[in-house]
Structure formats: structure tokens, C-alpha cells
Symmetry: C2
């Protein structure tokens, strides 16, 4: 499944939160997400632009593979494969046995909204700041996904600098 999204660095999440409330849109979820990223014994995911992650939230744990990013006019597209796993500690142990190594941890609080089919995430990322992500629903083609993301962004008036960097890359770059 391809994932299309735009990520915008914002000074504060407050203006968008206020705008959503004024439109009568309430958060669908409010979660703390703790991510552990792994690197492969056969290739450096930093160079191949892949990612392997175990994510824990109050709802459970997931294991995700992300393919290389394809940048299209500020929108980030990449393949994403997700499975739910339980217990996550054992999944982590298996990865270590298979030669994978832990590279970094990313922790954030994420408030999600649904707007016109898109997923809006208001993220506070530990050590990095505030970000807004607008993600197209799965199954959309590239053109429709980009158009929809642009329309929703304009409607919500999200101002700020776009980035195609992942939180993992930002954290590794700060080191």
C-alpha cells in the first residue's frame, strides 16, 4: 500500500486545533506513540531510505516496514507494510536475534482528526517540536491524493514549512 502525506513544521498546534474546533471537528484519537527503529544487517536503511519500526501505543504494538520515499512536489509517498504484534518485547528480541540493531527511539503525542477522508495528525515530538501531517486515505492514486491533501491543507489554513524528512531522520541529524 502506498502512503501519501505532507508534513508541515509549525510553531504551535494551537491555531489548527482552534480552527478544527470551530469547524466542529473533534479528535478521533489522542495517543502517545513510542517508536523504536531498527537497522538491517545486510544494508544501511539510512542509505536505502527504508525504515523498520516497532510502535507501541495504549492500543497495542505494531511492526512496520517502510520503503524508500518518493518525493512528489513536497508530498511524501512511500510503501508501508504494517502488522500488529503481541507481545512487542518478544518481537524486538527476535529482530535482535536476526541481526537487526536498534538505531533510535522517537516519542510523540499524536492527536488525529478525519477531514474529508484524510487523516490529520497533530504531533508533539520529543526533542523536535510540533508538526502537522495530512495523509491521503489508502487506495487513492497519486494525483487525487496530492490534490486532496492540498485542498484540505488550504481549507484548514495550515501554514509552515513542508518537510519530507521523517522524525527518525530529524533525530539522527541532530546527533
Amino acid at each position: 500500500m502506498m502512503e501519501y502525506e505532507v508534513k508541515i513544521r509549525v510553531g504551535s498546534l494551537l491555531p489548527l486545533r482552534t480552527r478544527l474546533a470551530s469547524l466542529g471537528i473533534r479528535p478521533a484519537k489522542n495517543l502517545t506513540e513510542k517508536d523504536t527503529y531498527f537497522n538491517s544487517p545486510t544494508r544501511d536503511f539510512g542509505r536505502t531510505d527504508e525504515a523498520l519500526r516497532i510502535r507501541t501505543t495504549d492500543e497495542g504494538a505494531s511492526f512496520t516496514y517502510k520503503g524508500p520515499k518518493i518525493g512528489i512536489a513536497g508530498v511524501k509517498a512511500r510503501e508501508e507494510l504494517i502488522v500488529s504484534v503481541d507481545p512487542k518485547e518478544t518481537m524486538e528480541e527476535i529482530l535482535l536475534r536476526l541481526g537487526f540493531t536498534r538505531t533510535a527511539a522517537v516519542e510523540k503525542t499524536r492527536e488525529t482528526y478525519r477531514v474529508e477522508g484524510t487523516y490529520i495528525a497533530l504531533d508533539e515530538v520529543k526533542g523536535l517540536g510540533s508538526f502537522v501531517e495530512i495523509e491521503a486515505p489508502p487506495g487513492l492514486g497519486e494525483k487525487e491524493a496530492i490534490a486532496l491533501i492540498g485542498r484540505v491543507r488550504e481549507e484548514l489554513g495550515v501554514e509552515g514549512e513542508e518537510t519530507t524528512l521523517s522524525y527518525l531522520e530529524m533525530i539522527l541529524a541532530k546527533r
Copy 2:
């Protein structure tokens, strides 16, 4: 977690099934298990005696890593790490993306019983025949595990040839 078990090749499962019924012990479960085994891109699990498996039953799917076998007087001991995964097709896709390769499939019907804390499995393995496995409950030390397995085997009168080979190894050896 260490797993201690003895595996016995039998001509038929019928005598043991009758013996268990006469003792008033009923099967706890009766499942069809479909296993897919994978090999690593960094080392040959056939040589290192490790195993990586996705198992599907009617109850769901699991992902298992098994460490090298330690043979102790016909009892097979090895480390086993298991997580439940969902959906299993995506787990398989992730493994392929990470460079793992499918090696073989093992399919069997397994009837399980609990006898004095041990797990007894009556297996009909496609292409291989009938086997009885007696596994010690987790948490037991080596000595207690071996003694318990021997006692239960005697009590149930399971006759046949012991093997420390896994079904995977038997299937690969037949090729």
C-alpha cells in the same frame, strides 16, 4: 524461553488416542497448522540450526524464532520466541522485503492434550507420517523437564523411535 520436548515417530496415533481416552483425558485442541519457514540473508539457518517460521491456524497467525537445538539424551531443547501477528500475509511480505527467503512449508493436523502439566501433541504431518510430541511446561529446569517427560511417556506407553529432527529438517532431507 527454553523449550524441552521429545518427539517420537509412531506407526499410528490410534493406540495413544485410545490410552488417553481410557484415562479420561480429552483433547484440549484440534488444529490444522500451516507453517512457512524462512531463511536469513546473512546466514544459512540450515547450518546454524535456527528456524524462522510463520504459523497459521484457525485461531490466528504467529511468528516464531527458534534457536539452535541442544540435544540432551533424546530430549530436544531450544530457545523459542513467539509473537502473534496479524495479518500474516503482510508479515510474510515484510520478511521478503528484508531479504529473507521462503524455504519450505509444513502442514499438519495436531491434536493436543494436557497430561501432568506437559503438552502432548498427536501430529499427522503431510508427507511425513505420525508423530507424538511431549513437551515440558515452560519455566521448568532441564533436569525436571527431562524427568517429567520420561515419566509421562512411560505412563502413556508411547513406543517408537525418538528423533531430534524438526519436521522442517525431515522435509528438506526428503528433497
